[in-house]
């Protein structure tokens, strides 16, 4: 019996960033409805809300709230900041695109903010049902955004595909949670872990539940064999939104996947879960890179490259433990910057609505758009993992962790895979600088906000590669026991 419905102020304060984001999203919608004259400022407002949320996240004291449903630790703080950074970049990149496509409306920034809100909750939840709710809050927003270009059939197609598969997967997650609850009598991760390590009545059910949960988040990450949606959805969805979709949900999902694996190794099968992660990693690296190699469409190529990157990210999870957080966090931050940056460039350079994103369209544009082309080169070089960029730093920590834990074979596969990666990333650079111009750009106009997003991402990619101490200091401060 609930006697009173009062929420302690401390709990509310712990959710301040999420509350701010949700409220800002609502406010933007209201402004859209009642003050349409302000429409042009809404993306800017959303960016401001993101910055404010980041400030609030920085001020959060380590604690758990709502009777242990959500936690705030330096680690979740670091992941939250990464998510908010990407959100800000994606919003900056979106403004020009929305104007160009005549889609400027409050729904877009509002949905992005709500997605970010869901992601922050996802990162901070330590209870399975909260995780599920956060996932749904995120997913519903993503479905809407994927179909945001309502005049384009490809956009609607992307949204429907994503929605159908996503809904299916959500039911997986929910069923997995139910099974685990039936087996262990709790939905709190620590309690489930304790029950699993103590041994349960029918271990098979627990394993099945864990598998379903892991499959759900492997889907969000786009790991093989749950990757099939990524190229289609990336291709059809609005490019600046893909800057968000290809990165932010992966940060959140990776955090949950780490938590699930940490949980799983407590239970039946034990360390075999780590081998499962290794298999998924190998499959993702190989499939992602090989398929990316044959793509002619830049967005599809980046989608498959994202699959491969999630494979690299999974390498540390083949040896779960507290020290797996370091490579995961560094890799995600690096991936977030370079991938979001790449899509920000794509959303500026491919200006005709509904056009295919053929890589060859960029032929010879290196001298026409020197700044954007240079930034795209930085992103490609970083994605390829060549120093001195953030991408190299990420790979470095991943391989370091693999060697520390005797996963040399995985590191070797990773190396072979990244060599394949170099080939297709270089093709973009080659097309930009070494081919004669094939078609003059039509309607391409680099808007200030979009250019700023690209420049910020490129600068951060380089700075993190050259002077990583700042980032690493922050990471160390965030790591458990760091």
């Amino acid at each position: 019996v609930i006697a009173s419905f009062e929420i302690p102020a401390a709990d509310l304060a712990a959710l301040a960033p999420e509350i701010l984001l949700a409220a800002a999203g609502t406010a933007i919608l209201l402004l859209e409805a009642f003050a349409p004259g302000l429409r042009r400022t809404l993306c800017g407002l959303a960016v401001a809300a993101t910055v404010a949320a980041a400030w609030l996240v920085a001020g959060l004291a380590p604690a758990t709230a709502f009777h242990g449903l959500v936690e705030a630790t330096p680690l979740t703080g670091a992941f939250s900041q990464a998510i908010l950074a990407v959100t800000g970049l994606a919003l900056l990149a979106s403004d020009g695109w929305l104007r160009r496509e005549r889609l400027l409306a409050g729904e877009y920034p509002a949905l992005v903010l709500w997605c970010a809100c869901g992601l922050l909750l996802l990162v901070r939840s330590v209870e399975l049902l909260s995780i599920f709710l956060a996932l749904e809050l995120l997913s519903v927003g993503l479905y809407g955004l994927a179909g945001f270009h309502r005049r384009l059939a490809v956009s609607a197609e992307a949204a429907i595909k994503y929605f159908l598969m996503g809904a299916f997967v959500s039911s997986f997650v929910l069923f997995g949670i139910a099974l685990l609850y039936g087996e262990t009598g709790s939905t709190r991760i620590d309690a489930v872990a304790a029950a699993l390590s103590a041994g349960t009545r029918s271990p098979g059910l627990a394993v099945f539940g864990l598998l379903l949960l892991a499959a759900g988040f492997a889907f969000k990450l786009g790991l093989v064999p749950f990757h099939a949606w990524t190229p289609d959805v990336y291709q059809g969805a609005p490019s600046p939104f893909v800057a968000f979709l290809s990165v932010a949900p992966k940060i959140g999902s990776a955090v949950v996947l780490v938590r699930i694996l940490d949980l799983a190794v407590q239970g039946p099968l034990g360390a075999r879960w780590a081998d499962l992660a290794a298999i998924l990693a190998v499959a993702s690296m190989l499939v992602g890179n090989l398929f990316a190699l044959v793509q002619r469409d830049l967005k599809r190529m980046l989608a498959y490259s994202g699959v491969a990157h999630m494979g690299y990210l999974l390498i540390p999870l083949s040896a779960p433990g507290p020290d797996a957080w370091r490579p995961v966090l560094v890799y995600l931050v690096a991936y977030a910057l370079m991938n979001a940056g790449a899509f920000a460039v794509v959303s500026i350079l491919y200006a005709r609505a509904g056009e295919q994103h053929a890589i060859s369209n960029l032929s010879g544009w290196g001298s026409r758009f020197p700044l954007l082309a240079a930034c795209l080169t930085v992103f490609m070089v970083s994605l390829a993992g060549v120093p001195p960029t953030a991408g190299f730093l990420g790979k470095y920590f991943v391989f370091l962790h693999a060697i520390e834990h005797g996963r040399l074979a995985l590191a070797l596969v990773g190396i072979a895979a990244s060599l394949v990666g170099v080939a297709y990333y270089l093709r973009v650079v080659y097309v930009l600088y070494m081919k004669p111009e094939a078609s003059a750009p039509e309607g391409v106009r680099a808007d200030a906000a979009g250019t700023a997003a690209v420049l910020l991402a490129a600068a951060a990619t380089l700075v993190l590669g050259l002077f990583p101490s700042r980032l690493l200091g922050w990471v160390v401060a965030a790591l458990p026991g760091g």
Binding site: V386, P387, L426, P468
Partner: protein, 535 residues
Amino acid sequence: MGGFGSLLADASITCFVFFPTLAALPLMLMGRASARTVKVYGLVVALLEVALIAHWTLESWDAAGMVARDPALPWIELPGLTIAYEVGVDGISLPLVLLTGLLLPIVLLGSWRGIERHWAGFVGSMLVLTTGVLGALVALDLFLFYVFWEVMLIPMYFIIGIWGGERRVRAAVKFFLFTMGGSLFMLLAILWLGWSHAGLTGAWSFRYEDLLRVDLPAGQQLWLFAAFAAAFGVKVPMFPVHTWLPDAHVEAPTGGSVVLAGILLKLGTYGFLRFALPLFPHGAQALAPVLVFLALVGIVYGALVAWVQPDLKKLVAYSSIAHLGFVMLGILAADLVAWQGALLQMVNHGLSTGALFLLVGMLYDRRHTKKFEDFGGLAKVVPWYSLALVFSALASVGLPALNGFVGEFLILLGTWDAGLRLAAGVAAFGVVLAAVYLLHMLQATLWGPLTREENRGLRDLDAREIATLAPLCLLMLWIGVAPRGFLEPSRPALESVLSDYRARIERPAPERPTLLDGGGAERRAFAMASAERER
């Protein structure tokens, strides 16, 4: 970054390593400037860079040949994992640093006419490339070395891919993939080494001097040496991973070929001498027979293939494979004389092959062809050009009183002394082959009757071209006549590396990883030198 800034302001190693890249930044705003402005700017920067290196060498170079270094700076700091920015120059890296500096203005001068578009990009690529090369040469931390090593790839990819010949893109990608493929194995090996250090001491380290103390079991040394050899062997390039080189050379613009042959290839042999052998002596010893065999194959195969090339540039490209085979042979002989010869031969090859590529480029600028069939009897039309070509070719052949002779002779002598007599014999045969193909080249281009009417009006060398070639030719002669002055500065460093290497070979490899005591001669010398240089 206060420390870094003050190092830059100081006339230090850091200063001459990063100056080219800093000087490349204004080029980004010079997209609309005329080609002439950019050329002159690039040349001024290159000459300043030469002055910086020369100034540093005169001021701070340690005459004992031991390492002279900048104060170390913290770069990446994590509990249990510290990577410092640590650079220094010793007798092994100094000749290559000087060569790199010398070639930079020559390359720009030599490209004056050959490069027709995007001069700002070309000069920028060259300058960034120079930073990568110098950084890799002076890095005293393997992580730092790896970063510089990879930084070289991108500008070179652009140089081949943008300003190259018809099939330039294929060549550029091949270059990138081969090199990157090899170096990724090295990255894993570096990580493994750092991890072993952590296992022994509790602290991660990639410092060269720390890692020299890690003594690994023979099996691990074998694999790690193989991984390093994969990276360096591709760069050298050794048979059978040489196939990227002819493509890259043939398609690269003249300046690119000169840098590639003159400097980049040397980093492979430098890597063997600096890292692969000293770090894994037992691995090196175990794999030496294989590598010696491959080096000999390279010498003979490179020479034979060079002989049948229909095109001047391809001939010079294949001759590089043969010459670098000599250098590898000298390094693998693990003998002081052979090492001195190998180090000198690295410089020699940079000078003579650099000159040959420049000369081929000058011919190409005039006639837009490099095929032998289009030339013949040029000696009568362009006497000065012919003189330079004969001179450089003879230096490359190893004619006594020119530089190539000294290097090759020392390598053969040292190899013989080290007991590799059969190898020395085969290599000596390679010298004969070199004479065959280079004389064939001279014969086909310069001598005999003038075969083509359109060659009758060929211009001889102009002042710029003479200025480009003269320093190279002078050095070839100087080294050939008075090699001692070029050999002595490197001797102490080579001696100490060699004595450490031999000392470790004589002991059997340990059963499990162990930490050597700090008693190695090189380590002592490093420590002394650094104590002296605390500023």
